[in-house]
Symmetry: D2
Subunit: 295 residues, 4 copies
């Protein structure tokens, strides 16, 4: 528990433990004991038990261990017996090893700009080694920041060739997170399968309303009084992946499609930025087609 | 314009003029002149021109005329030439003639309670001559307020017989507005046709998401992060009528179907109450499948 | 952790443990072990460490123990050594022993109505043995529900006499929570001291703006664009007690004092209801002049 | 009314008329007639009458006149008799003559970045001929956009000298609007008087709470559950000028001063951007210490 003063001085000593296992008595006590005995001070912990038939238990710890990076192997080894005893599916992550994000964008740059804004002000704890686009529109935004910009024209006839290039770049730059910041190309099942729970999209509607193309036009035609945006993990069901975050903004009869888009952009950029932030902080566990987000 | 002191003393002298016509130069000037020449002080006016091909113009005036009720026939007659000149579809309404509302409810009483609360505190300017239900649950809420409660059991096999009784009551009590405050029976096309733009429903989802039955169960299964409610005029396309108002509330992974319902009830009652209030104040014009709501 | 099926069948077996102590390594492990060893399944847990000089640790457990009520003394006794070791300030509470609330109201009944509404629909887990008012306005709302209504006229000259009667009633009815649901009398320091963290007020402004009387008039004069309400524990600094919940609603230049009040009532009733609910669920710990609210 | 197709093709033909005068019968009719007779199609109109003793009437028209710029002198001359008859305080503005804005900033750049973002995406219809700062922090953001950056160090001892330079720049660049985008210097009464209703500030609290310095520290110490931001015209009463827009964001006990600031920045940038947009569209009329904002 004890959050000592070094905490503020050395963020590199912060780690996280994410746990998912069958719900059994004693699990919290066992995990707390493990962390205590390994010199960890728990900074934050959040838990959740679903009430489905299978009764799964989820917990996220954020902890501080002096000289964490040198102790990490030892820590992970020491966890093995516990993991086996409780049949735990787990992950340790380390603040020192920042996730590496690739941003994909097409012509509309508002989401990209928001992410770069948050990143420049230190609120998005990630490295951004590259931006990929099927258009040239965003080059002048990206390159002045010293980030390489890869222009890869795309259309449905050359999808595999395009994705081969993208996959090569993901490998070259050792990418952990693929952010679709209004990237308007459909990805192949093979591409998606390669990056499970790693691709995050922003859809410009309040899903499941207006799945698919032209949501603002359809929102206009339906005469809705609120428009929304949804950030979700990409799976091979179009716009059906686990939802991370949603938000809405009020509109009225005076709004036409163009103004819905303008208003929607404000929602989109804020929803995507929140989702990415939570993903980078390992606050999200997916559970079938849903997310548990530990705020 | 001049809102003289009598305004506060005599709300019975307030009227409204709703206008819908092809958009032509001079229409605002013509209408303003008409009201001025007939001794009206405009309290409020709101206009809207859609930018579709047919270019329709809409305006709502709220005005004060000394001794309005005695002058109303004269006023309506005087309006005829203008109505013809500009091909105006119009309605005059008078504060003194309060609309008469019938509330339909099934087992869940939260929307009914909210409406009765607003009505008792003077915020819902309507008479409520009766409540109709296919259950007995709400009787003890309604009768102590001196409102007759009609219990009409209903199911899909006796729909016509049930509706015949309801129609008879609507006529007997001279009802203007039918409020479906969580009334869980489907209405026949004949019934709906009889009351165009007079039936207002609350649907327990953010339409067009989760049209139809069990929206909270489906919201739960989809893992949405916001749940909503929608108030709309009832047409013969299920949950497809013109939307009047929508709102949402934030939920998270800890919510199960039961808690979604609880949270949703708070949204439902507030959305329905707003929609009814606007309808009673003649703030809504329907335009095909959309509403113009002049706030 | 294991939330077995009896959980749903027997809410009387649910208890809560609230803990506040100096932050030290091992505290979570110790508490988790204690609960595990005493047969508790943890349903929910939330913790917080402040980062002030004194470094205080707070945790709230909600747990299930078979046949809890008969084991409660044993449980509390077993906790003593741990409490001493870690210098814990703690409280056990039991779902079976519902808190008993007295509602105080003056002339405006909207907050009272909201609480009664929530209470009737089972969302406010409390007994309401009486309502006290310095006016007769609310009698007809309260008595039909079978709740005794005490009319105690009040003014600043007879404050002590009035409070003596109120205190006698609090004792007679064994009251745990005093809810000031728009009760417009100032309480004496002696009265307040007698009920620490037990009196919850709703103030009709977004504190610390508009402390004191006539907040809507002052909001109107200042031309604010949002109005708010604040629910807080009552201390002897007027409107300065620990804030539990706040919310706001948008207004504009067209609103006068009367309409600000109307809009404000909607905020007041929802803010007070939330605060009361959290208090009843033992979700609130006060920390000097602030609250920790475990959602 | 007729919004013909040229409207979309030529925004330069759009003008606005803002009117403020004693409330008298016939004023709307007179103004509508005037516009109609001068070939104007009214695109939008909004009115407001306050209910104070002096009964002032306010209206804003947005209109389209073919070849407006060449007709503007004629139009303004033609308006004189009406202006005199009704004692109208008025302003005509023309879309073609974009307002010219100077942005003042200190060290925190989030509001500046938001304005530049909106400006680049075409949503802020203004020219930005220069940015002025008492620090160098924002230079690298501003200059790449081709906007001159004036670094004018400032402190309270050299206030007059600093303002003399600033005034010279305002004149040199013919500035209409001075945007204080987190500019942390107090302005002298002489400076403020020179630019009435032209200086717009963002204050980092929900005014009138936390007037003056360090609002986030004070919000933290008070334990509020919402933090806000307020955009207002600058007058010579500190943080007391007419409020244009306010908004809030939810916070909780886990937030410290640093995170309140982060969250607050999101509110500040959105509140300031809205206020500036409305000012640029001539949607705001000030009325003593309040604003009328015609949405």
């Amino acid at each position: 528990m004890y959050m000592n003063k070094q905490y503020n001085q050395n963020k590199d000593n912060i780690g996280r433990l994410l746990v998912q296992c069958p719900d059994k008595p004693g699990i919290v006590a066992a995990l707390s004991n493990f962390l205590f005995e390994n010199g960890a001070n728990i900074i934050e912990s959040s838990q959740y038990s679903n009430d489905n038939a299978q009764q799964t238990f989820y917990i996220r710890f954020e902890f501080y261990i002096e000289d964490l990076i040198n102790k990490r192997e030892e820590l992970e080894t020491a966890f093995q017996p516990l993991a086996e005893e409780f049949a735990i599916d787990f992950a340790f992550t380390y603040n020192k090893y920042r996730k590496r994000s690739a941003i994909f964008v097409s012509k509309e740059t508002h989401c990209l700009l928001e992410l770069l804004w948050e990143w420049q002000s230190g609120d998005l704890e990630t490295d951004i080694p590259l931006v990929i686009s099927n258009h040239e529109d965003a080059r002048d935004i990206v390159e002045p920041l010293g980030i390489p910009y890869y222009y890869i024209p795309a259309n449905k006839d050359i999808r595999e060739e395009v994705e081969a290039k993208q996959i090569a770049l993901m490998e070259e730059y050792d990418i952990d997170v693929l952010i679709l910041a209004r990237y308007m190309q459909i990805l192949t099942p093979d591409f998606v399968k390669r990056f499970p729970n790693q691709i995050i999209n922003i859809h410009h509607s309040f899903l499941p309303a207006f799945i698919g193309a032209h949501p603002y036009e359809r929102a206009y035609n339906r005469g809705v009084k609120l428009i929304g945006a949804t950030s979700h993990y990409v799976t091979n069901d179009l716009d059906e992946g686990p939802i991370i975050e949603q938000d809405i903004e009020r509109v009225d009869h005076r709004d036409n499609v163009a103004s819905l888009k303008k208003i929607g952009q404000q929602v989109e950029r804020r929803v995507l930025a929140r989702a990415i932030k939570w993903h980078l902080q390992d606050r999200i566990i997916t559970n079938d087609n849903k997310t548990i987000v530990f705020h």
